[in-house]
Symmetry: C2
Subunit: 385 residues, 2 copies
């Protein structure tokens, strides 16, 4: 259904109409979050609906589900990981949520599907975003589907497969010296110059709405709230979206007050959230000289830092930095032991789980590791070659 209002994530007194295009809260530059009128969505109403995240359309920002700009995103499988669990001597249920099985092979499709749907409803004529890789491909696909031109700004060293993917969907791609925050400045300048709408992470309120459906799917499929969610964190929309979703699911009566522990995983080469979590800070500072083979997690500054850190703490969760070698090992374990098409980001969650188990951390089952995208995007390399 259409939202009732957009609410500032810093000060809930700042509210805005969903009938206009908004970016950050004009008063304090914080991300806006979407609120809906009291809604009814019963699990047994879902049975005959298509296998896509739009099955939850009562909690997505559309008047009618036929408005959705969709490529069948969501409804991704939960893959049991018995061999990895045995290897890690974890005796509870362990799963991978395989987001590689989305359009454009990553979880970014969920957010872009909703963002482009909302942008089209509000009359946007051109779209722009910075990207560490996967977001650009998703935006290019959904922009093409909506008939809205797309421009993407990416770091110059982005893997060529990703750049070509965007171009084959008809998007213009600009290579920028630096990292995603540098690309973000170029995208913002382009938006200011041309009037294109900037859908950078959390700079507009709707990508979070797509990401939150991951939590809806977990609860629909598991029939319960997971005990622990382990999530590779770049911009953090997934963590923020899922945390929002559990509150919505409680309001819908699907779950009670229980919540999963949220674990944010970053590479030692780019760990601004982990550093802030460990220091007790409420916000994160830029991680200089960021470097990791997990391209999607190479995000030195996150606009949603405050929301991510608050969700981790409220959930009783934690933040973990893992080495590049352990990321490769985790990716290899998921692939060769379980057959899951894990990328580096997926491998990082397996590495973090191993680390936490070795530390003796209490991780309630079922545990869900998120594989946020396919290794095909980075042209996979065998461990022994």
């Amino acid at each position: 259904v259409l939202p009732s209002d957009l609410v500032c994530s810093r000060d809930p007194e700042h509210r805005f109409s969903p009938a206009q295009l908004h970016t950050l809260c004009p008063h304090d530059a914080a991300p806006l979050l979407v609120r809906y009128p009291p809604a009814s969505l019963r699990r047994d109403a879902l049975a005959s609906r298509p296998w896509s995240m739009w099955r939850y359309h009562e909690m997505l920002p559309v008047e009618n589900v036929t408005e959705a700009i969709t490529l069948g995103e969501g409804a991704t499988p939960l893959i049991p990981l018995p061999r990895l669990a045995a290897k890690l001597r974890f005796d509870g249920a362990l799963y991978a949520k395989d987001e590689a099985q989305n359009p454009t092979a990553s979880f970014k499709s969920r957010g872009m599907s909703v963002a482009v749907t909302a942008a089209r409803r509000l009359g946007v004529r051109a779209l722009v975003a910075p990207s560490a890789g996967n977001a650009g491909g998703a935006l290019a696909a959904y922009g093409a589907r909506a008939g809205i031109p797309v421009r993407v700004f990416v770091p110059r060293d982005t893997p060529p497969t990703l750049v070509e993917e965007m171009r084959t969907f008809g998007a213009g791609v600009e290579l920028v010296d630096g990292l995603i925050d540098d690309a973000g400045r170029s995208a913002a300048a382009y938006a200011a110059e041309t009037g294109a709408f900037n859908v950078a992470t959390l700079r507009e309120p709707y990508r979070v709405e797509g990401k939150k459906t991951m939590a809806y799917e977990l609860v629909e499929r598991l029939g319960e709230v997971p005990g622990t969610i382990v999530y590779g964190t770049g911009g953090g929309t997934g963590v923020i979206g899922m945390w929002k979703a559990f509150a919505e699911l409680e309001a819908l009566g699907w779950i009670g007050s229980q919540r999963p522990k949220l674990v944010s995983v970053q590479s030692e080469g780019c760990a601004p959230i982990v550093r802030a979590f460990e220091s007790g800070a409420q916000t994160a500072t830029r991680f200089e000289n960021a470097s990791t083979a997990a391209w999607g997690m190479r995000v030195p500054t996150a606009l949603g830092d405050r929301l991510i850190l608050a969700a981790l703490r409220a959930s009783g969760g934690t933040a973990v930095a893992v080495s590049e070698a352990s990321i490769r090992d985790g990716m290899h374990a998921l692939r060769a032991l379980e057959g899951a098409d894990a990328s580096e980001e997926g491998g990082a969650t397996a590495a973090a789980l191993q680390h936490l188990i070795a530390q003796g951390a209490a991780l309630p089952p079922p545990i869900v590791l998120f594989n946020t995208g396919s290794a095909l995007k980075y042209a996979p390399r065998a461990q022994d070659s």
Copy 2:
């Protein structure tokens, strides 16, 4: 449920027990097809089942669905293609069945999931197959999941991304001079030498069972039999499997006697089935010097030629060869116009549709184009670069 028997596709008097491992019919070297005892599978029983092809497990060869070697394959979306329909001046419903949204990003996962499940039940200790590209990646993933070692034989010029994908799942890959039938001879020799079980297309009876689920999904989602199915044809298991599925669906009471027109699409650079169809032959001869950028369709001889040709004719369908340029144009149209992650094989179906409409062919709606895999596997190239 477990099959009742395996029946020779040439002579139904030749029947074999599903309790043993079988390859081709020993009497006439024809593929074997799987038969089940009379079963009940009601559409309304599916509602709460996971989003995977194993939702149809009453018609798949397992005693209990928990035996399935699964990565969540199937339950792929049907994407409406209104812009392509308008461009082609087709005013009926037109869809893409997006098989890129499978594990290992192609439709091959369906067949390998069932083949590896059956192989494990029957005690297979090692697996081997030739591959034009996508099948090898799928076999490598499901072999890893089952804990069974895999060897794949591929043409030497196979795109490196595909070879690396297989290796990252732990498979051994051998590069062979020549095409997939040459690789097939090497795989057969390896099987004979080592005792590894050869799951080459149609040489064992279970890959077809996975592929047939594409038709189950079409009927479950559309609520009717599609009018026309347009399918890029290499080995032809998809056409054979779907044709088998419609007969099963009639026996289950889901549909009546109506059938879709089946259209096989090949490249002008490798069109053995089209040549045989046009000449009225019952079998196809080898297509010499086969060459196409649609790697999955570079199959100069198909063991299932007789079954493919019979299905096309019985359905009132046809076979169409399209140029390499029109394949690229079709791929570009699906990507830039619709946002679908079309590979060359998907592009070929759009090209064939355009060709048939221009010829004035009667194509009953709804029409379903199959996008059998993601362009990421071949490292996509923008049309204008």
